[in-house]
Amino acid sequence: MPVRTEREWTRDDPYRAPDSSDPAGSRRGACRVAGPGSQAVTSFGEPEAASGALRGGTSRRRVRRGGGAPLPLLVPALIGLTFLIVPLVALLVRAPWRSLPGQLTSAEVWQALRLSLVCATAATAVSLVVGVPLAWLLARVEFPGRGLVRALVTLPLVLPPVVGGVALLMALGRNGVVGRWLDSWFGITLPFTTAGVVVAEAFVAMPFLVISVEGTLRAADPRYEEAAATLGASRFTAFRRVTLPLIAPGIAAGAVLAWARALGEFGATITFAGNFPGRTQTMPLAVYLALQSDPEAAVALSLVLLAVSVAVLAGLRDRWMTTGG
């Protein structure tokens, strides 16, 4: 991995920041206005109804009254807005529109894009299979140390992804705590493979799903499960036939967040899975690499990711609007 200066590193950063904190951030803000939504602040996919009510309620009215916004608030607000928008506009302005068709139809781009989509989807699937039950456990079962477990689950959310990658190497690397046995017993090697990309992305993305689903579960009325029990449903049947359909919108929102996070994952992937074209080189890695040799290609690739992000956001907005109304 070539050494980059700090200034250059930061260029990669914005595109981690927007997709991880933007949709969540806007909801957080909405929750704070409400006051009683303090529980919602801790999680992302939290009560859709609550945020929906807010959107149509006090917060909207307050924003509309903002015609007379005081300058000490208005000026920094506009600076902040500009700061968030200008880089994206710059990306569009500097896009090599003429050579774009050629850039985007090259084999490498499609390879990287396909790998990214496949790995992000696989990571989301893994997160769903183990993350939803984990969220149920955290929301519905009282056990000692539950608070600690929840903190551990959320840790990857705030952990720098590179650290996550190093941690994964220590655990699942060839000489890792677990990886050693995987290698000698089953001949399974995860680092620097496509499966390794999925592992790294799932590690970083799963907490988003767990926190989102747990929030939805807490907001869902547990008495529906009791009603199911009185009708003869075992706890698992009640979960499968009653709880799961009830929290489906929360699961979908969590899955989309996790997927977007996995798609943009850079640090843990490059640390744990490396940067082999066709095998572990996902879009963000391709962008990073292209920027050194062919900046035009980097911009073209970035545009693709931007388009995907916008599509995801539009999808989420639509969901929030319709389910929260």
Binding site: A227, A228, A229, T230, L231, A233, V242
Partner: protein, 388 residues
């Protein structure tokens, strides 16, 4: 669940009867259930002593209910009625006592294995399922095939007059319809114990009247044990054959509705049915109250008694009435006044705290206002004393 339940019953029944039980194994119809009941009359119904301790609150309620009987647990909010219901359903664990249904111990059995159906206060219909699938949910959980479960559900909905609403999602149902779907859902599992938590509380006044009458009819048709919980005395009296009044976690009175209305044994019931109620020691015609004054009655009793009289039996005077005709005469002070239909109810404190009803004209003539001093009399013939 059906199978497990049958097996459990068979274990509880005397061995000689096992052949006869086998003959009934394949029962599919309600009629077969009835025959089963008639045959197996030895320890039918509910026999429970529910003890639930939670912090400072302790519920200790004994219940015996025969099949076909409807019992209402009536009491103020926080009396422990809902806790009792949850304990019967298995949603709250007993800390003591016993819980037997048709001779089988239910305590320790998980809720999904109990032959119990519950109609929850806000119905808790599954919002993602149609009315039909809500009702079919129970039979499906009991292992019935999807087609059979739906057929059974459709039959229940038809029986409750909801044939046109089979495919409708709960949020499109009116309050009364949702209540009937909830009842159908509970009945579709063929429970031996039907529990209803405040079945009419979620309805507005107009639908309430209609639904109350319907519910009464459906409960009368139900062949097993039904227990309902309510804080509304009218609901309890219309729907139930027997009332169990629960206050502060224990039973304060039990009996048929008219008996309880005429002979209340607690302030709560007396207020609900609109009576002044006192407790005292009777000696001949005179009852000396625990609080001091005495009341003359027509009954001749001795020992501890209750005395009750309606607020309409009270006559008020601004000045002490002359003549000795009214032996029941007390000096009181007006503590409050409120309009009660076309009358005014005066809340009096003083020698004997009581409620008195009078016309608006009389109230104006007496110039009643809070703090005013009045004399209250009651004729002995309008009081009613009965032993504690």
């Amino acid at each position: 669940m059906d199978d497990r339940w049958t097996a459990a019953r068979r274990k509880a029944a005397p061995a000689v009867r096992s052949e006869a039980f086998d003959a009934f194994d394949g029962f599919e119809t309600v009629e077969a259930f009835d025959a089963f009941d008639a045959f197996d009359a030895f320890e039918e119904g509910l026999d429970a002593r529910l003890v639930v301790a939670r912090g400072a609150f302790r519920l200790d309620v004994s219940l015996r209910v025969a099949p076909g009987e409807v019992v209402a647990l009536l009491g103020p909010n926080g009396a422990g009625k809902t806790t009792a219901l949850r304990a019967l359903a298995g949603l709250t664990a007993l800390t003591g006592g016993r819980l037997r249904l048709d001779g089988v111990e239910l305590d320790g059995m998980p809720p999904e294995s109990r032959p119990v159906g519950v109609v929850f206060q806000d119905y808790l219909l599954f919002p993602h399922l149609s009315a039909l699938d809500n009702v079919a949910f129970g039979p499906r959980c009991q292992g019935v095939t999807k087609a059979q479960a739906r057929a059974r559900a459709a039959e229940w909905l038809r029986r409750l007059g909801l044939a046109e609403h089979v495919g409708v999602k709960p949020r499109k149902l009116s309050g009364g319809q949702a209540q009937r779907v909830a009842l159908a859902r509970a009945l579709a599992t063929r429970p031996r114990l039907l529990l209803l938590d405040e079945p009419l509380a979620a309805l507005d006044a107009r639908t309430r009247l209609e639904v109350r009458a319907q519910l009464r009819r459906h409960l009368a048709e139900f062949e097993a044990v039904a227990v309902l919980v309510t804080h509304d005395p009218l609901d309890a009296m219309v729907l139930a054959d027997r009332l169990v009044v629960v206050e502060d976690g224990r039973v304060v009175q039990e009996g048929d509705p008219s008996d309880i209305a005429r002979h209340p044994r607690s302030d709560y019931i007396a207020r609900l049915v609109g009576l002044n109620l006192y407790r005292g020691e009777s000696d001949g015609h005179v009852v000396r109250l625990d609080s001091g004054p005495s009341i003359t009655t027509t009954e001749v009793l001795s020992g501890p008694v209750f005395v009750a009289f309606p607020p309409s039996a009270v006559t008020l005077f601004r000045d002490r009435p002359t003549g000795a005709s009214a032996r029941n005469l007390w000096r009181c002070e007006v503590a409050g006044l409120e309009t009660h239909r076309d009358q005014i109810r005066a809340d009096l404190s003083g020698e004997l705290p009581l409620a008195a009803d009078l016309t608006t004209v009389a109230a104006a003539e007496l110039d009643l206002h809070p703090g005013a001093e009045v004399w209250a009399t009651v004729k002995a013939t309008q009081t009613h004393a009965y032993p504690v």
